[in-house]
């Protein structure tokens, strides 16, 4: 039985095999139950003795009941094979599942990036104010080559735009957010390189 199921290779033969199994199993269930009900009828005249006939009927009912159970199990196996075939070969539903999953993943990614962007904007605003406060205080130790963000934005507003290519990229705040981020990234480094740790910057 297992060898018969391993033989069909092509899709058509496989589906024809499924059809055949379905018809055979349904037919087996119906026929065996019909025969059981017929056998249950008590007959007045028998060819052999009543005991023998009863024994024969008993054995026949056993076999037919086992056939019904076997056909039921075969139908369950057929349903399992159909589920597997459906999952692997039902392209419309597979495509729909893939597109739905892609949509969910992309929306999650966009939401994540949107929140990160808004967080970045808020932190940039706070950093601007903090730098303005810090570099206008007596504790700041920066030279003209190290421009804080607030100073960079102030100079950018007063300069014409082509001039920013002639100066160093880290010195310019830039009109682009990436340039602003680069200055945010390099300014702390230069501060750290020039002044050691932040603790040293606080020392008068």
């Amino acid at each position: 039985m297992a060898n018969q199921r391993a033989l069909p290779q092509s899709k058509e033969s496989l589906l024809q095999n499924y059809n055949k199994r379905l018809k055979d199993d349904i037919r087996s269930i119906l026929d065996n139950l019909t025969e059981i009900i017929k056998t249950a009828k008590v007959e007045e005249e028998t060819q052999v003795s009543r005991a023998t006939q009863a024994e024969q009927d008993h054995y026949e009912m056993h076999v037919r009941a086992a056939n019904i159970v076997r056909a039921g199990e075969s139908l369950m196996k057929l349903v399992s094979d159909l589920k597997q075939f459906l999952i692997l070969n039902d392209f419309p539903s597979v495509n729909e599942a893939i597109s739905l999953q892609n949509q969910q993943l992309r929306s999650l990614q966009e939401e994540c990036d949107k929140k990160l962007t808004s967080l970045r904007d808020e932190i940039a605003i706070d950093l601007y104010e903090l730098e303005e406060e810090y570099y206008s205080s007596s504790y700041s130790q920066w030279d003209s080559t190290d421009l804080p963000l607030c100073e960079a934005y102030r100079r950018r507003d007063s300069w014409a735009s082509p001039d920013r290519d002639t100066t160093s990229g880290s010195a310019q705040g830039g009109g682009e957010e990436t340039d602003g981020q680069a200055s945010q990234e390099t300014s702390p480094k230069q501060h750290l390189n020039g002044h050691g740790t932040t603790a040293s910057a606080d020392m008068p």
Binding site: L33, M76, L86, Q109, L116
Partner: protein, 114 residues
């Protein structure tokens, strides 16, 4: 769409169990000395109804698969979207870690321990 078909096949499995149970009840009732005719009728009608439903549903599923299946493997994938989403979550996690470090540094600066 796929879930509907798989759910229908789950229902077919329940119907097959109903078929076997009805057949067993019928044989059990026939084994008694006095049969309950109405019970037998109910069980028999339930049995035939379940058999018809199972045959109809499985035939329609096989017919649908005959129209839809190509025999070729499906080559679709969600890998790229999943990778992009994973990278976005990694970015968020990195930002969270860095902000945590910044917060810790601020706490240390504001509350120096003796």
């Amino acid at each position: 769409m796929a879930n509907d078909r798989l759910r229908a096949l789950e229902e077919v499995e329940n119907q097959i169990a109903t078929i076997l149970q009805c057949a067993g009840n019928i044989v059990l009732e026939l084994s008694k000395d006095k049969h309950n005719a109405s019970f037998l009728d109910r069980q028999l009608s339930q049995f035939t109804g379940s058999v018809n439903r199972v045959e109809t549903e499985l035939s329609s599923q096989i017919r649908y698969l005959t129209q839809v299946a190509t025999g070729q493997p499906h080559e679709g994938s969600t890998y790229s979207a999943r990778k992009d989403c994973q990278m976005a979550l990694n970015r968020a996690e990195y930002a969270r870690v860095k902000l945590g470090e910044l917060g810790h540094t601020c706490e240390v600066m504001l509350d120096p321990q003796p």
